[in-house]
Homo-oligomer: 243 residues x 2
């Protein structure tokens, strides 16, 4: 199976959620916008899909995945699609369905992470909304982070099948999404996360376990893995962090 993944080439961002699942599954995929134009890649190839030149199923925004005539957009939907095809999803129907709910809730958290530095909208630069970002960040650090992380920790604790995973008895795309989100939060809010990380022993154990998963570990050590940076979703601005 050969997939084409499309996402902005310079940031991990939302593209990293499906990318991690593809890597964990050892699936064959091209990261199209990161390829040179001479190989059919680059922004031009991505824009051809978004503009409708490549057919009427034109996604609203990256990331999107092309699998033959199937086009999937939305990071969590792509993660679920790939995960379900490659054994990185629960087997039991109720668990399988709930993994989707988890992944989309993680996508909501990621949107809030974005809004920390862009509370007034993505049409303005961070520099034009710094005081507002500071106010947003306070509520995000103090209320939202513990609310989301507490929910994941409870899922991990109460999973009757295998409390090492969020749902079901095996590693799934839902776990991979939490892994990436935890790392992102640590990157963006090192003081806050340093202060509260001890409250989430099950999440930390999961993050540790994922980082040792063979294909994931190989990916993390490769040059395909991009570092977090201040053009992405998870940004470290010292003025937005606090214990």
């Amino acid at each position: 199976m050969n997939y084409d993944l499309y996402y902005w080439p310079m940031i991990p961002g939302r593209g990293e959620y499906p990318r991690l699942v593809l890597e964990a599954a050892e699936a064959h995929y091209r990261d199209v916008a990161r390829l040179p134009e001479s190989e059919g890649g680059g922004m031009k190839a991505m824009k051809a899909f978004l503009s409708g030149e490549r057919g009427h199923l034109a996604p609203f925004a990256p990331p999107f995945l092309v699998d033959g005539d199937i086009i999937v957009s939305q990071a969590a939907e792509i993660a679920a699609y790939v995960g379900e095809k490659h054994g990185l999803a629960p087997l039991m129907e109720a668990d399988r369905q709930f993994a989707r709910s988890i992944a989309f809730t993680t996508a909501d958290l990621v949107k809030e992470v974005h809004d920390v530095h862009h509370p007034l909208g993505s049409g303005l630069y961070y520099e034009d909304q710094k005081p507002e970002a500071k106010r947003y960040a306070e509520g995000f650090r103090n209320e939202r982070i513990p609310k989301f992380l507490g929910w994941y920790e409870r899922l991990l604790t109460s999973n009757p099948e295998e409390p090492d995973f969020l749902v079901g008895d095996r590693l799934t795309y839902a776990d991979l999404g939490l892994f990436q989100t935890w790392l992102g939060l640590e990157y963006a809010f090192p003081k806050r996360m340093g202060n509260i990380a001890g409250d989430y022993p099950k999440i930390r154990a999961l993050v540790e376990q994922v980082s040792r998963h063979g294909p994931v570990a190989a990916y993390l050590a490769s040059d395909r893995r991009m570092a977090f940076n201040e053009d992405g979703i998870f940004r470290h601005y010292r003025e937005l962090d606090a214990e």
Copy 2:
């Protein structure tokens, strides 16, 4: 098939997206939080799920749907789940998958609609973030609304199967989501929508068609249909609207 839908009882909000699909499908469902406690309803029943008392598959937030042992949360995921079970989804695999991408993109738009009145976060009242809301609203009205609506209009125009629908050859939950969103935007931003509605003839035709769909029309005329209000997602604040 008997479903239990859970959502805040006093607002249409995100709950209206799955509710519309249940109604269009003429599915049997209980709107649990709107039932009296004596019938097992009310907020207490909803909170029992969220707190984990009703099992380990505890959603992060409403809306959620209970279908036997399956629990689905996230408005767009519930809409897709019900739509796919009840013939309100495309039949062809590529279209079926793309309908999901559309519904989740609509969920992103709905989140931005929420952020218009709560740009600094949901932990603060609107009254405590009015100047910021005004700035957010300007970009939302001028850039985001046309960007989203233009995308839907292009999908409707370029659908080779049946240009009356967003994807495939029949009414789907993706169309129902656009219907609800269009009405919400008209409610919240009457000046802006009055100014630009003419740019979207295909969307308007779809909205008209959905409103005449038998089960939907019956639902809209019933007391089950809640009006938009200023506790919900789509809020009409005159200071946030402009041509």
